[in-house]
Point group: C2
Chain length 398, copies 2
């Protein structure tokens, strides 16, 4: 009785893997600034719980497999803000962006099929693609180049006859890299040339800073039939625990294929869909509001990071993550040191080691991801602890 | 740009497939008794919504990937009623029983691996197993024998060197067949002999009639390490839309494998888990109460069914389904007739054609599944319409 090869080869989440050491430290009374996980401290808009609390149902019934109609309509109206036009049949409501990706890869990948992804990338893509017996083919980027990947030569070098799709996270996680309109065009042309699906994970769509315009692959007519957009309420509305997202596509084959899987799992939680509809209906001034909050946070983190001697970090333009290259051999050892040995006034800090964000073995060992999901003061304090911890770690190592 | 072979080969849900014709009929003012889907009309216990409405959280955060601890504890306490002892590490909270099955097959099946299931079976097993590139190997049963499958010869004939697991739905869906303790022992011995996983889908555990004792595979010590139990709040607590279930196992390899997938999808909806904890904590008198309700419904349906000339139907001992063999060539055509042409006082009835519950092609064409999920009067009326419709259909066919 063995497990499947695909699961044997899978990793535990590098983001969640160190949690037990953090919990242990907390049990010992240490305060931890958690910059490791994309769980914002921003309040979920009240309309979410209000919508759910106003529900009076005698029976909590299954919803339709494609989603509650009112939520589908709210999603359609949301995209319309950006002059992107969808219909209900194009919208599959999913349990977060995670389920959208999971169902999508099961729908489009045969065993051995490849998906191009710029590395470092959101580590759970690995899990979803491996679950479908597919293979991640990384397009390697570097801290020094600000994790730039919209480069035809780089993309061409990675494509094979097994390549089925290119997956773009824009704005990026973990890098914060954000594509220009021209770069999006370049990727679309590349995908058309090689007849690839374009999977656009745009859950950080509104997190675009420095006056950047918000773009979506949905704005480009010419890729409409090969485009699948993944969306979610988790980050935009700070509602990670709602587990509501969607898969959006004009491609009817994909929509039908995903529907087969969706009918298998019956539906997404009914109450959360009702709450999510209220979120998608928030006035668009909300996006401006949170953008301002996170832009300040980014600036604070970046300012503190750049005070640390020997780091490499380019100021990212979007999402709420930032990658940093540290002058250490192995950030995992450094993180263990921070959690188990180091303390500054009985406080320490936690981040995500970046090794798990790379598909290429050995890369990312000296890089980490910071999620700037706490208030400015906590962020500054967290990075200052990191700086102090680094000094102590290096002294100990010498 | 093609879809994956696994999804190309998949069927749409035969339970949900006829929904569009039903909706069309309803738009035309026809009332439909929906006996096609396992969506009970029984009120969800108030504690579910009450627990959720009393939540005051500023941020709807991710839950732990394994589940909210309080819910895990409530599940542990629930199993203890039956003298089955689990710990938190054994309980993976999932988005309904569906996700439990989905993650389980991804964890234990390599492409081509086989799972034994008595047919007719819950059609979505097909989807989950195909998603993992596995194969259903059916153990065929018949209406005439009351869908009996606990038969060593039948099981032995189906096993190959690719067989990895036997999946048991007990009490059964769609058959209502319920195993005796001796039959469970027979299946366990068989699984041990062939070194198979035992997957026990026991979501209808409490729906056992005629004074039958409630059994679980969890009560058998000797299969502990090869047993995976799937549970759910959907049916037991009439909370289908909550999408909360769990995968329960003492096998640490499976628990760890499933955890890798669970971390990938992050967590199950936080609020619904809080509601589900209240459900699992209901006094066990609740189970007696609903058992009485459904037993009366079963008796009513069975009584009405047996009035129809030429049917074959054995009174089932559990769950809330009942299979009927009708004297027609193709129940799908009959269902279309009921939805599109027939009406009795502007009312008609809907059921699930059983073809989709069989893996063997051609079987089940003259069988249907009734879900007795409505009140007694509606059920009697529904079956009477079915009887009238059948008479009209046969007259028209002649």
């Amino acid at each position: 009785m063995k497990l499947s090869e695909r699961v044997e080869k899978m990793q535990f989440s590098p983001i969640r893997r160190f949690n037990e050491y953090a919990l242990e430290a907390e049990r010992n009374g240490k305060k931890i600034y958690r910059l490791n996980i994309g769980q914002p401290d921003v309040e979920t808009p009240e309309c979410f719980l209000e919508a759910i609390k106003s529900i009076n149902l005698d029976v909590i019934e299954y919803a339709e497999s494609g989603g509650v109609e009112d939520l589908q309509q709210a999603i359609i109206d949301y995209f319309r803000i950006y002059n992107i036009y969808y219909e209900k049949k194009d919208i599959m409501v999913t349990a977060g962006g995670s389920e959208a990706l999971n169902m999508l890869f099961t729908t489009i990948l045969d065993p051995g099929d490849e998906v191009l992804i710029a590395e470092p990338f959101y580590t759970n893509y690995h899990t979803f693609i491996a679950a479908a017996n597919g293979k991640v083919v990384p397009v390697t980027t570097s801290a020094e180049e600000g994790y730039h990947y919209a480069d035809v030569d780089k993309l061409e070098a990675a494509v094979t006859d097994k390549t089925k799709a290119i997956l773009i996270t824009n704005p990026g996680n973990p890098t914060g890299t954000i594509l220009t309109k021209d770069e999006m065009q370049l990727i679309i042309d590349f995908a058309i040339n090689h007849d690839l699906w374009i999977i656009a994970d745009e859950v950080y769509r509104e997190f675009a800073y420095d006056g950047r315009k918000v773009y979506s692959f949905g704005m480009f007519e010419e890729c409409k039939n090969r485009l699948i957009i993944v969306d979610s309420v988790s980050k935009r509305f700070s509602a990670c625990g709602a587990r509501v997202g969607c898969l959006v596509t004009k491609n009817e084959d994909v929509a039908q294929g995903v529907m087969k899987l969706a009918q298998g799992r019956l539906c997404v939680a009914t109450l959360d869909q009702i709450g999510a509809a209220a979120l998608y209906r928030l006035d668009k001034s909300y996006y401006k509001e949170i953008r301002t909050v996170y832009e300040k946070r980014r600036d604070a983190v970046y300012e503190e990071i750049m005070k640390i001697p020997g780091v490499i970090c380019k100021k990212p333009g979007g999402s709420f993550y930032l990658m940093v290259k540290l002058p250490v051999d192995n950030v995992e050892n450094f993180l263990m040191f921070l959690l188990k040995e180091y303390s500054d006034n009985n406080e320490t800090v936690m981040f995500s080691p970046a090794g798990g964000f790379y598909a290429t073995k050995g890369l990312g060992r000296d890089e980490l991801r910071i999620a700037y999901v706490l208030n400015e003061d906590s962020l500054r304090r967290g990075i200052q602890i990191l700086a102090g911890g680094l000094k102590a770690y290096k002294e100990k190592e010498d």
